[in-house]
Every structure is written in structure tokens, then in C-alpha cells.
């Protein structure tokens, strides 16, 4: 009856049919993505199962560890307990069932449930990965926004730095940073995981190659966007160069950035293996290396499944995020 209600009603009427078709299209896209994610996870579990089957030698002997004499009765009991006396297909289904309950098996080396071992080492690696991603994004955004489309020495220097950072082995970047900042200038601790100071260099090591890739892609996206008619129009409206870059071009360039960031976040766990080795930090990476050297397959497979899950969750989120960033996709 009052004006605001009327306005709202009119707005509703204008939006309702559109919203309905739009949300149906969005729901369909979401369902499709979730189904695909589930398929990849099932595939990862299958790869994990196959890898577990590939361990050379008798799994019971491997489980018992070297030089551990076992009576045939004990062996038979272990076989029965782990379902090793069943046909492979049944073992596979059993394995999937256990995975669904969060049971990743038991580490041969540590004699503890894999899920426990991984959970215990997760926090240092999460800290490292999050800070590294933050560093990488800040570095790439700063470098790309300030140098895109400009012909200056700064642009060439930044491009060279990006090229170097993607062409160098990440662990070597860590070694160089250690040499300079820890041993030469004594600004950061050499190793360990206590406090923020010990986290800076490892995170930077993990971040630099990512920043190189992100920076290259972002600049290319920005330069394309800056040449588009909408950028020219924005300039003609009297917007400053910085405003055009930040408010218009950046939004267009971020779509590629978001995909890539999602993909790179999945790869952080791989990088963590090397970075944690260089800086002698505890974490999932160090755990993975230790498990690999000891042929502790359940643990290695557990980390692989964790990594696949992280990747699937993040790439699904990224796809959904697209609907937020790019209104054109919402029209179904």
C-alpha cells in the first residue's frame, strides 16, 4: 500500500521469472559439478587402491616390519583382519566402505591410524600453504597491476623476475633465501616451526614460483582487458588510469586468476614436500617424504587422497565462484 512495498513488489515482479530460470540453470550446473567431483574422488580412491595392491612382496610381511618373525596363525589372523583373504573385488568394495567412514588404514611404520597421523601434522602445512597463497596473490597482483600495458624498465625487470621464479627449482629458491636472509643478514631463523618468523621464508619459497605464474597470466589478462572497448569508454568518461585498472580491467582479468589459483592451491601440497625438506619443518610434506622413503604405502596413499580431495573441493568452489564473479554465466 505504501510506496516502498509497491517498489519492492514491482522489483519482485521484474525479477521473478528471470530468477526462476536462472536458479534452475545454476542448480543444474552445480549438480553437474558435484557429480564430476564425486567421480574424480572415486577415481582417486581407485588409484589409491591399485597403488596399495602394487606393493611388492607379501603385505603381511611389510606390515609386520623387517625381522619380525610371525607364526602362521598370526599371519592368518592379520590376513583375516585386513580382509586380505578375500577376492580383490571384495577387498576393493571393503576399502571404499572404510574410506567413507574416514578410515584410511594404518601406517606400517608408525603403527597408528593414517588419519590420525595426517591430522597431527596438518596444521603446520596449512599455515604454510595459506601464507604462501597470500604472498603469491599479493606479489602477483602488485606486479601485474603496476606494470601491465606499460613500456618501462620496471615491467621488463618484473617480467624477468617472474621468468626466473618459474624457471628455478623451488627448493633452490629456498636455499638462496636461506643463504641471504638467514645466514648472511640473520633476519629469519634457519629452521624450525616456532612462530611467524620461522614461517616467512618457507612461505615465500613456496609463493615465488606461484607468484611468477600468476603474475604472467594476470598481466596478460589485464593487458587484454585494457585494450577492450569498455576500458576505452571508462577512460573517455574521465576515469583515472588507476581506477580503470582496479575497477574495470582487474575484474575481467580475475577469471583466469581464480581458475589458476584453485589449481595451484591443489599443487601446494606437492611444493610443501620440498619446502619442508629445505627448512627442516614438520608437516604433511615431511611426513610424505618419510613415508615414501620407508615405503609406508598406507600413509603415502592417505596423503594422495587428501591432496585429491583438497583439489576437488577447491576446483568445485572455484567453478561456483565463477557464477559470482562473472554475471554473464548466471544467465544460463
Amino acid at each position: 500500500m505504501t510506496a516502498p512495498t509497491l517498489t519492492r513488489a514491482r522489483a519482485d515482479a521484474r525479477h521473478r521469472p528471470l530468477l526462476a530460470s536462472r536458479s534452475r540453470a545454476v542448480l543444474g550446473a552445480v549438480a553437474q559439478r558435484l557429480l564430476g567431483a564425486a567421480a574424480v574422488l572415486l577415481g582417486a580412491a581407485t588409484v589409491a587402491f591399485v597403488a596399495l595392491q602394487l606393493i611388492p612382496g607379501d603385505p603381511v610381511t611389510v606390515m609386520l616390519g623387517p625381522g619380525n618373525p610371525a607364526t602362521p596363525q598370526l599371519r592368518a589372523r592379520i590376513r583375516a583382519e585386513y580382509g586380505l583373504d578375500h577376492p580383490v573385488a571384495q577387498q576393493y568394495l571393503h576399502y571404499l566402505g572404510r574410506l567413507l567412514h574416514g578410515d584410511l588404514g594404518e601406517s606400517y611404520q608408525l603403527q597408528q591410524p593414517v588419519a590420525h597421523v595426517i591430522a597431527g601434522q596438518l596444521w603446520p602445512t596449512v599455515q604454510l600453504a595459506v601464507l604462501a597463497m597470500g604472498f603469491a596473490l599479493v606479489l602477483a597482483l602488485t606486479a601485474a597491476v603496476t606494470t601491465a600495458g606499460r613500456r618501462r624498465a620496471a615491467r621488463a625487470a618484473v617480467q624477468l623476475a617472474e621468468l626466473l621464479s618459474v624457471s628455478s627449482p623451488p627448493y633452490w629458491i629456498g636455499i638462496v633465501l636461506l643463504t641471504l636472509f638467514s645466514f648472511h643478514w640473520r633476519l629469519f631463523p634457519v629452521a624450525g616451526a616456532d612462530g611467524f618468523a620461522a614461517l616467512v621464508l618457507p612461505a615465500l619459497t613456496l609463493a615465488l614460483p606461484l607468484a611468477g605464474v600468476l603474475g604472467q597470466v594476470l598481466r596478460e589478462g589485464l593487458e587484454t582487458a585494457l585494450g577492450q572497448p569498455f576500458a576505452v569508454t571508462a577512460r573517455a568518461r574521465g576515469l583515472s588510469d588507476t581506477a580503470v585498472r582496479l575497477r574495470h580491467a582487474l575484474r575481467h582479468a580475475t577469471t583466469a586468476l581464480v581458475t589458476l589459483t584453485g589449481w595451484l592451491t591443489g599443487s601446494l601440497l606437492g611444493g610443501a614436500v620440498l619446502v619442508e625438506a629445505v627448512f627442516a619443518r614438520p608437516g604433511i610434506g615431511a611426513l610424505t617424504l618419510q613415508a615414501t622413503t620407508n615405503k609406508d604405502m598406507p600413509l603415502v596413499v592417505g596423503v594422495v587422497l587428501l591432496s585429491a580431495s583438497v583439489f576437488v573441493v577447491i576446483s568445485t568452489l572455484v567453478d561456483l565462484l565463477y557464477l559470482l564473479i562473472d554475471p554473464r554465466l548466471r544467465r544460463g
Binding site: 567421480a39 574424480v40 577415481g43 582417486a44 581407485t46 588409484v47 597403488a51 602394487l54 606393493i55 611388492p56 621468468l163 626466473l164 624457471s167 628455478s168 627449482p169 623451488p170 627448493y171 633452490w172 636455499i175 638462496v176 636461506l178 643463504t179 638467514s182 645466514f183 648472511h184 634457519v190 591443489g266 599443487s267 601446494l268 601440497l269 606437492g270 611444493g271 614436500v273 620440498l274 625438506a277 629445505v278 610424505t288 617424504l289 613415508a291 615414501t292 622413503t293 615405503k295 609406508d296 604405502m297 603415502v300 596413499v301 596423503v303 594422495v304 591432496s307 585429491a308 583439489f311 576437488v312 576446483s315
Partner: protein
């Protein structure tokens, strides 16, 4: 389009044959208009390789380098300029020169240093870089320059070996997916999706955990890690080549399927893959040396860049040079190969776009 459909079309009329003829004429056409440089300027040398390499593009790049070097005896300046133009400017020329130097070092390291890589001299341990030891000495007094030079063979072999293995495995799987029918295609590509969900280094570690450590197992591990990428590319190329006129014509002529794949599909699908492999060599080298760094590859006395870095990591407090120069070698190699690869890629896309 199903194979039957294709056979019917190939036998019912002259149209597919005309298409095949047009297809066959295409490489010759692209060869007679060499790239962006006018024919008068490019001289006699680029002509032959560019026609020969129309299907498999990296050939002109590596192929012209040698004839042009040979020609430099007669007209050094002109040949060098032509070479620089083909290599894509002075940067490209530098990349080629570095690459050539690396191959020479890997083949004959003794030509570049008189020091031995594996003779320890504890009295002269941890000497800083000097004229006698340009890169310094390590914890056993071994000359680091010599170790870096002698290490080129093992490190490049590791990178090249794993690249060749991953390209081979990827090509076989990609071909199977591309020509093997819907089920094989679906199964293989879903597997590739799963492997793509894992960081290469983690896949490599999984493989090493199954196979055990060591140089050849590291190569296999890198192959497992990078094969899915090549498989996906080969599959895509195969699908394109499958529908092309000359394959239809070959099917129409009754060529047996295996022969068809080996003689027509594979060579034409392989071009972009070889270009990608040049770029991918860098990632393979970095990952392989990373596994060595983690102690899973060649074992310590062997001079390998990643292994050297892992030893040098422990000496950072007093001898930075032990861990810096092997890394420089890796970076320089990756930069040079990457520059050459990107140029090959740019040339290839330019040529196929036309």
C-alpha cells in the same frame, strides 16, 4: 563420425579424394611461404627444412641450426644474421647457444675443465670461489665447477629420459583414447582427470614409494607424473587427424588400421606434442632434480645437480657456493630450453593457424 560412415563416404564419390588432395597440397603451400620473413631475405637455407618440417614443426628449428652453422664458414656474418632471425632475435640465439653448450658439456665435460669431479682433497675443503676453483670446493675438497660440468650428463639425462618416457607413454595412451572407441576414450580420460587432480611431485612420490628409489625409478616416476598431460594433447590431435581427408582416403584405400595409425595418425598428431615436450622438459628437469634433492634419485657420490644441492643444503652456514651453483645450472638449463620451446610453440601456432 563412425568408421563405417567414413568408409562409405570414401568409396561413394570423388569428394573425399579431392579433400585428400587438398590436404596433401597444404604442407607444400605452407612451405613455399616461409613464415613472416620475405623469401628474398631469408636466403637459401630455410627453404628445404621448412617444407620437410611442415608436419612435425620442431624439425626446422633444430634442423636449420646445423646447416646454418656449417654455412657460417663461407659467410659467417650473413649466416649468423639469418640464424638469429630464425631463432627469434638475439634472445633466441643466446638460448640456442646455451643449449648447444650444455649438450657439449654433457657429452665431453673434460673439454671444459681439467679438474676431476670425484677426487676428494680434504685439505682444500670449503674453499671459496677463486681463480683456481671458480665455483669453490665442497666438503670433501672436490671442485664444484667440475662437479657441475660432469653433473650435466646425469641431470640432462634424467630430464630428457623422463620427458621421452612421459611423451611415449602419453602418446600411446592418447592414441588409444583417440582411436580406441568411446569406452577406451572415457576410461582413459577419466583416469587422466584423476591424475590431474594430484600435484606431479606427489604422483612421482607415490610411484617411488611403489618402485623404490634410484635414477631409473625417478625417470619412471616423472613419466607417470607428466604422461597425463601428453595423453590429453595426443588424444585431441588424434581426434582432429582422424577426421582429416588423408586419413579418410587411406581408410578408403583399404590400409590396415595399425599401419594407418603408425603411418598417418601418429606422425601428424605428434607435432604439437614434441613442441610441448620442449617446454615440458623444464618441468621434468625441475621435478626430477627435486626428487634427487629429496634423496630419492642418484645417490651422493654421483655428480647430479639435485643431489649436489641436497649435500650443499647442509653446508649453507659456512659455504653458500656448494648449494648455489648447481641450482644456477638447473635454472640456466630450464631458461634456455624454455625459450627455445616457447619459440617453437609460437611458430607452430602461427603455422597451424594459417
Amino acid at each position: 563420425m563412425s568408421p563405417v560412415d567414413r568408409e562409405v563416404r570414401a568409396t561413394t564419390g570423388p569428394a573425399p579424394l579431392a579433400a585428400a588432395a587438398a590436404d596433401a597440397a597444404l604442407p607444400a603451400g605452407s612451405g613455399s611461404a616461409p613464415g613472416t620473413c620475405p623469401a628474398s631475405e631469408s636466403g637459401p637455407e630455410p627453404e628445404a627444412p621448412s617444407t620437410a618440417g611442415a608436419a612435425v614443426d620442431p624439425a626446422p628449428l633444430t634442423g636449420t641450426a646445423l646447416p646454418a652453422v656449417a654455412a657460417s664458414a663461407s659467410g659467417a656474418g650473413a649466416a649468423l644474421r639469418a640464424l638469429a632471425r630464425r631463432a627469434g632475435g638475439p634472445g633466441g640465439l643466446l638460448a640456442f647457444a646455451v643449449l648447444l653448450l650444455l649438450v657439449l658439456v654433457a657429452a665431453w665435460p673434460g673439454l671444459f675443465t681439467s679438474a676431476q669431479p670425484d677426487i676428494s682433497d680434504p685439505v682444500h675443503a670449503f674453499l671459496a670461489p677463486s681463480t683456481a676453483h671458480p665455483f669453490g670446493t665442497d666438503q670433501l675438497g672436490r671442485d664444484i665447477l667440475a662437479r657441475v660440468l660432469y653433473g650435466a650428463r646425469l641431470s640432462l639425462l634424467l630430464g630428457a629420459g623422463s620427458t621421452v618416457l612421459s611423451v611415449a607413454a602419453g602418446s600411446v595412451l592418447g592414441l588409444l583414447a583417440g582411436i580406441g572407441g568411446r569406452w577406451a576414450d572415457q576410461a582413459l580420460m577419466r583416469l587422466a582427470d584423476v591424475l590431474f587432480a594430484l600435484p606431479p611431485i606427489l604422483l612421482a612420490l607415490l610411484t617411488v614409494a611403489v618402485l623404490g628409489s634410484g635414477t631409473s625409478n625417478v625417470m619412471l616416476a616423472i613419466a607417470v607424473a607428466f604422461a597425463p598431460g601428453y595423453a590429453r594433447l595426443v588424444r585431441g590431435e588424434t581426434l582432429v587427424v582422424r577426421r582429416s581427408g588423408y586419413v579418410e582416403a587411406a581408410v578408403g584405400l583399404g590400409l590396415p588400421r595399425p599401419l594407418l595409425v603408425v603411418r598417418h595418425v601418429l606422425p601428424n598428431a605428434l607435432g604439437p606434442v614434441l613442441v610441448l615436450a620442449t617446454v615440458g622438459f623444464g618441468s621434468a628437469l625441475i621435478t626430477a632434480s627435486g626428487l634427487s634433492f629429496l634423496g630419492l634419485g642418484p645417490q651422493p657420490p654421483a655428480p647430479e645437480w639435485g643431489t649436489m644441492l641436497s649435500e650443499g643444503r647442509n653446508n649453507l652456514a659456512n659455504a653458500w657456493w656448494t648449494a648455489v651453483f648447481p641450482g644456477v645450472a638447473i635454472t640456466v638449463t630450464v631458461l634456455a630450453v624454455g625459450a627455445v620451446g616457447r619459440r617453437a610453440q609460437a611458430r607452430f601456432t602461427r603455422r597451424t593457424a594459417r
